[in-house]
Amino acid sequence: MGVKKRISGCVATANAVKLADVEVICSYPIRPYTGIMSELARMVADGELDAEFVYGEGEHGQLSVVYGASAAGARAFTGSSGVGVTYAMEVYSPISGERLPLQMAIADRTLDPPGDFGSEQTDALCCRDQGWIQGWASTPQEALDLTLLYYRIGEDPRVLLPQYACQDGYFVSHILGEVDIPDAAQVKEFLPPYKNHHVLDPRNPQIIGAQMEPSMGPGMQYQRYQAIEGSRKVIEEVHEEFGRIFGRKYAPWVEEYMTDDAEVVIFMQGGHAETCKTVVKRLRNLGEKVGLVRLRTFRPFPTQQVRDALGRFKAVGVVDNSVNFGISGAAGVLLTEARTALYGLGDKVPTVGFVAGLGGEMITHDEFYKMFAKLKEVAKAGKADKQSYWLPFEL
């Protein structure tokens, strides 16, 4: 059995990295993910973790270091926040293209609009289509579990893809929560040693990331497409296995909260869903038929599962904690994805976008309350008079 401790999401992630026996870590400081690296640096210095701890000269360098380490056969870990995430953008595609299952933790931070440093999912969502596995933790416990789950999924020989394990900056990364830290034997059972698809061996030299001609391009992309589509089955298997070993059962795609006879629900991802749960619970006490559907895996996007989950309600509000200026629906990518998933159900399930919690503001109880009030109107009318609302200004 594990040990229960009150720790932050940063420390929870660092503990998972230690339990995963990661061999190469590359750091570069930026709030709020920094806590992960300071914790790992302490673990390495204190001899708790035997890993190469490399100081990157920037985020681009960080990703390049773990890229090489993973190619050499090491289980590698890195992370960043905000503009650090976008600075490393060039390196994400070759890592997934070369099928290197390293992991990057992202503790969200807004992209300097200017000056602000609060939490916002825009940073990690900017790199959503790079062939990486991606999803959000809503508590420190889930941050720990996500790291273990993702290494196992990514390193599966049927997948071989890198992963972004995301958590909302500050809310999840800094506020202490109770975490059950599993013991090493359990993790060993769950996560076998990493084996790359090739072995670095001077007797059998290979070029990793060889120059490809445009004629090879379509095939290269198709391989990645097959990998991420093929990961769906593995994601389900691994979550099942995780529940068996650790006793914590997560729905791989969407977590439903008080949805049984719900008429209207909010669909969202990340830590703010915890605040939404309180609102749902209190509204239920008043007899309101409301619920929450929390997306757990964003990439690959569970189109069918989201359709099945959301298709049965009278109205769905989609909360986006990111900016996507000029996007269809005038809200965020989650609204677009949810609408795509619901395509064909026509007017049966009206959807409304809510952009909230930008720049590091929390999404308050009152704001969720207003969203549910709006959703009830939409359900009653059978349609929304506006595609989306920006909070707190438009609701």
């Binding site: 420390v11 800094h174 506020i175 915890e274 605040t275 590091g360 929390m362 109880h365």
Partner: protein, 214 residues
């Protein structure tokens, strides 16, 4: 709407400190008190204010704690908007900082100082209507302030919870409010001696007497 999300029985502790050199002590106070409450079976939460930018020396920074008999539902409400207990790791924070903002009726203010409550009370310009008592303790004479970045940014503090002056301040809080059993606090803090002495020496002054005197 506001009533709908009330959490009766939730206690909020806010500790004000000076950036960098008292970060640890402020954090230690909330961590020590909340961990002690957890030993007693309470639901707890402790964290530091993210926006105060604690990487600037002397800037006023805050650390927070929440204690409740029920599961804490406002866990991502990132500032204590209505504190029950306010503590200052350093006396000059009474001057020019709105330390009592939002306090609940019956709130307690605990100050690390050599000076008497009467003198400090003169500097507090706002929010004293809800303040019940001022507690003074010369925590610096009982333990040193430990200056470290270990534990900053949500990481683990490897230097020991309640190893320094924070243990004394936490003990003064416990004496004045009884928010936890003193024995529980002693099980958490490393500097038990400082905590014991502070528990003994802390002076609790009723604000009514200060108002009448003033």
């Amino acid at each position: 709407m506001t009533n709908l999300f009330e959490e009766p029985g939730l206690k909020q502790i806010t500790v004000w400190a000076r950036g960098v050199y008292e970060n640890k002590e402020a954090r230690d106070v909330v961590v020590a008190v909340t961990e002690a409450a957890a030993l007693e079976g309470k639901f707890v939460q402790a964290w530091e204010n993210y926006v105060d930018l604690p990487d600037r020396i002397y800037v006023p920074v805050r650390a927070y704690g929440k204690i409740s008999d029920q599961e804490i539902e406002s866990k991502y409400v990132y500032e204590n908007e209505t504190p029950d207990i306010v503590a200052l790791t350093e006396e000059t924070l009474v001057k020019g900082v709105d330390i009592l903002a939002g306090i609940k009726p019956g709130a307690v203010l605990v100050i690390n100082t050599k000076r008497p409550a009467e003198y400090l009370f003169k500097f507090i310009k706002k929010g004293t209507e809800n303040l019940a008592s001022i507690v003074t303790v010369d925590a610096n004479s009982l333990a040193k302030s430990i200056i470290t970045l270990s534990g900053a940014e949500g990481a683990t503090d490897a230097s020991g919870i309640g190893k320094g002056m924070g243990a004394a301040l936490a003990a003064a809080i416990v004496k004045a409010t009884g928010i936890v059993q003193f024995e529980s606090l002693l099980k958490i803090v490393e500097n038990k001696n400082a905590a014991k002495k502070a528990f003994e020496k802390a002076q609790v002054v009723d604000v009514k007497t200060l108002v009448n005197a003033g």
